[in-house]
Amino acid sequence: MTRKKTNWIITVLLILGSLFILFPIYLAITIAFKTPPEMAGNLLVLPKSWSFDNFKQAIEMTNFFNAFKNSFFITFFVVIFTVLTNSLVAYAIARNLHKKFYKTLYFYFLSAMFIPFPIIMLPLVKQTSAWGMDNLVGLIVLYVVFNLSFNVFIYIGYIRSIPVELEEAAIIDGASTWGVFWKVIFPLLAPMNATVAIITCLGAWNDFMLPLVLLSDQSMATLPLVQYIFQSQFSTDYNLAFASYLMALAPMILVYVFAQKWIISGVMRGSIK
């Protein structure tokens, strides 16, 4: 392969394009630091002072740390349980795909991907509230169960590429099926576990619709839901609103800054499976 010269035209075009991506975030950051009188002037200029007053006020008003705790609690347990259980279910199916029952189960989970959430939404909300599941734990259970559909699909593609001989060697050494999975298969699934963890984490952290319809108590609200609930109270105080938005976006942006390479390759691996 010959070494090609850098294509500067494309580089410049892509840099200009990236400004469109960064601009709303720039606007969010600067407005979060401004005061209401500054909003009358040019919106593009930097704030006069970098005071954290808006953030302090937004934290108090929206009870930010409570919402953060709820979002964190949900995301943390959904990721853990999704990775542990979905991989196990996928393994059981992948190693028995030649049997009718497991093959049917595989297509059953797969076909659920085509069912839009609004179709199950109304009865699901009735059902969960009747069963006392209209809370954070209920939300976690639903995410973990619903995730099966997509994750079984991507895990199975990966598990089938792992040679059965590896397991047979462990079985000869006296390991049980259970032991084989946790000691041999699960560690081998590491790249797929990372992919599933990333996609699950983003999904649970940013989801709006399920918390909106399911949670009955405002004290359980997640970060996106809080922005929605306080929308009318922010009214025209955009500085306060943007400080609140920024704090809700910040945790994921921070994680992304440090782990972007890992996140991008993880999502890519999941999507081309």
Partner: protein, 286 residues
């Protein structure tokens, strides 16, 4: 325990939980779609009356038209822009890693919050620019115009949707060998010919994935609309999901919106199947 029993002990609870929380609600929805249940109180069977009413309902009709228009336009725009960006990121450029990270950033952000930020951009920032430039089109809030508000929602959906689709195209582009392009250059092929004869056929499977996933996602549009217009002005940007949510939870139309949801499901399945058929045939032809 025997090996087969262990597998069964894993698969059965998974099946049971999935059935209870996913399939059972879906079946309940279908069941209630044949009743007149408001979501509370008593109910009677009404046959297919709800379905007939969905087809006669102007509000539902408008929601279907808006949702289709939005989904088709957004899917096309997102895929054109993503493909261009992916081709750009895949060529010999400087700062590739950084640029790739910036273009992927919107994928990790909450759609709802991005919607709120764009709401402000349309309501305050663009009008300010418009006033300075003396442009009448820019100086009003397009989200307040029943004929233009849907464009604002397309813009926010494109801003966010391009991230994921670009990544998929990029995954396809890196598999194409540089030799193919060089051979084509020797044969005197131009950029256009190279794109249609080499690039596009090679990434066809990725194109299929993107078209099907985008269309399905945009047919379910909800968060963006809640954040930007709330379905307004009037009912001009009310999507099917929003209509089901509003009617079902706030309007006492549990049974009626369940019928609407079933129609919606059938529509999504038909569209996905048609897309897969057409796109797979084209792939095979190539």
């Amino acid at each position: 325990m025997k090996k087969n029993h262990v597998f069964m002990a894993i698969a059965l609870p998974a099946l049971a939980l999935f059935f209870i929380f996913h399939t059972y609600p879906a079946l309940q929805g279908i069941f209630y779609s044949f009743t007149d249940w408001k979501g509370y109180g008593s109910w009677n069977f009404v046959g297919v009356k709800n379905y007939l009413n969905v087809f006669k309902d102007n509000r539902a009709g408008a929601a279907y038209i808006f949702t289709f228009q939005f989904a088709i336009v957004t899917t096309i725009v997102v895929n054109i822009i993503s493909l261009l960006i992916a081709i750009g990121l895949n060529s010999k450029i400087k700062f590739r890693k950084t640029l790739r990270a910036i273009y992927f950033l919107p994928y990790i952000l909450s759609i709802l919050i991005i919607g709120f930020i764009f709401n402000f951009i349309f309501a305050h920032f663009l009008p300010q620019i418009g006033t300075v430039l003396g442009s009448e089109l820019l100086s009003k809030n397009i989200l307040g115009d029943p004929n233009l508000a849907w464009i604002g929602i397309v813009i926010v959906a494109v801003w966010q949707g391009v991230a994921f689709n670009t990544l998929i195209y990029l995954a396809g582009l890196v598999t194409i060998s540089e030799d193919l392009y060089e051979a084509a250059s020797i044969d005197g092929a131009g950029i256009w010919t190279k794109f249609w004869k080499i690039t596009f056929p090679m990434i066809a499977p990725f194109f299929t994935i993107n078209m099907v996933l985008s269309m399905k996602n945009y047919l379910m549009v909800f968060d963006q609309i809640v954040a930007m217009t709330g379905g307004g002005p009037g009912k001009s940007t009310e999507s099917i999901s929003l209509l089901i949510y509003r009617g079902g939870f706030e309007g006492g139309q549990f049974a009626y919106q369940s019928a609407n949801a079933v129609v919606y499901f059938v529509v999504i399945v038909i569209i996905s199947i048609i897309q897969l058929k057409i796109l797979n045939r084209r792939e095979a032809a190539n």
